[in-house]
Symmetry: C2
Subunit: 273 residues, 2 copies
């Protein structure tokens, strides 16, 4: 048993899809979430910048006494997990490996689609994990750089010609490739689930990276005997690097409940002289 | 005469529309450009974050011996110009005042439209400048948060249903208000000029904040006798806080010429311990 909180971070709001899954799976856990809303998006940035930001994010989270850290961000998981795991004495878990393994196991045709940010796709990390389990799998990957700004501007509803046009453009090559499984490799994308499902058709299974990551964390804590035990639900605290109001408003869309009371703004990554 | 370079900065690529205008007006000037591509966009961020970033941007530019600094960013010009002007011994010039004055002088109907980022619109700065010249002017302002990511993803061409749909949504209230002048209050927006002109119709005059800012700088340097004099064209150097390749590729769209050889990546705003 370990009563310490789980730390979770993302470039912005997307990681809340993992928090939502974690709260469902492990309602007794305390969670400390950090969303780097002052520097979102990460997915268009270089490897060096992403590693630099991720280190600062973890340094902030580690001002709390945590039992594990979840990288609830496809971009950081593909790009910086080795560095972060090596530098930290507590477990650092990402969303890429669990999502890739779920896809590799699920596919029947061996044709897997993958969507993510530019940095995630460039890294090749999902493919590497898929091929460890299923070396013959064919992975068709596409970067979707506009999905994060569109979701963060509330454009994820079926019937919106903007999101539907962009979705069709990004996903047509995957549909034509006949994939039977599609990895939503960025934690923002579950908000596009209906739009993506409508386009890809009912025969394509969508793999939600945030939910798969949460499942893997729950399993790891259980295996190690490190779950918390409480009579009441655990407490979630949220920290962001930009305006609390902007975060709180959108967070309810990702989570399905209101967090306004529990959000605090913090400084991150600035010079200390 | 002052041979020192002019410093120009923006959150990313948008400020290049001001550089383009400056190079045309003052071909003998040296220019040092900084684009904070590692932290773009600024326009969705809070006032405090924008001021913090702008201070770091200026601190970097001032590692060069400059004769003036141009804030080629609508967001920083609306939000941080007073702070920056007060903290610096060389002139700090923005794009908001010149663009606002041009609009206030040009309108015949007294109905002026204004588009910009959320931060720019929230600041009310354009309206304040317009009303100093034309107190009776009615300003209809709309934030266009998706324009910057759409432009940075190359979606600014007429016929693209995505940019045309978003443009129609943002601009319909301005067209219905019958404005005769429209301020493009963000230096990214001149790339949308054709799309915006097609929607607003030929009777609406578009005011380009980057070009107006450049014109004001040229006038100020001339008035002070601080223009450079050279037999050859001045030299432009570009610094960015993220990948050089990504910047160089898009920069040619903004400038109309290739800059790959002249771009350098620098570190900005990280902790120095």
């Amino acid at each position: 048993m370990d009563q310490r909180p789980i730390g979770v971070f993302d470039s912005g709001l997307g990681g809340l899809t993992a928090v939502r899954a974690l709260c469902k799976l492990l309602p007794e856990e305390d969670i400390v979430y950090f969303g780097d809303t002052g520097r979102v998006p990460y997915g268009t940035r270089s490897r060096e910048t992403i590693i630099k930001y991720a280190r600062q994010d973890v340094a902030f989270l580690r001002t709390f006494d945590l039992k594990a850290i979840v990288i609830a961000c496809g971009t950081v998981s593909t790009t910086a997990i080795e560095v972060l795991a090596e530098e930290n004495s507590i477990p650092v878990l990402g969303v890429v490996e669990p999502a890739a393994l779920a896809a590799a196991k699920h596919t029947k045709s061996g044709r897997i689609g993958l969507i993510g940010t530019q940095a995630s796709i460039r890294s090749g990390a999902y493919e590497r994990y898929i091929h460890t389990v299923n070396p013959a799998a064919q992975v068709k990957a596409t970067a979707c750089p506009l999905f994060v700004p569109l979701v963060e501007n509330g454009r994820f509803r079926p019937g919106d010609i903007v999101i539907e046009t962009v979705t069709a453009e990004y996903l047509t090559p995957l549909r034509e490739a006949g994939v039977d499984t599609l990895v939503l490799g960025c934690t923002h994308y579950p908000l596009l689930e209906t739009v993506i499902r409508n386009f890809m058709g009912p025969d394509v299974t969508l793999i939600n990276a945030g939910a798969e990551g949460a499942r893997a964390v729950a399993q790891a804590l259980k295996d190690q005997g490190n779950l918390a035990r409480r009579e009441v639900p655990g407490h979630c605290r949220y920290f962001v690097s930009d305006r609390v109001e902007d975060f709180a408003q959108l967070a309810s869309l990702f989570l399905g409940w209101d967090v306004t009371e529990d959000v605090t703004q913090v400084e991150i990554g600035i010079e200390r002289s």
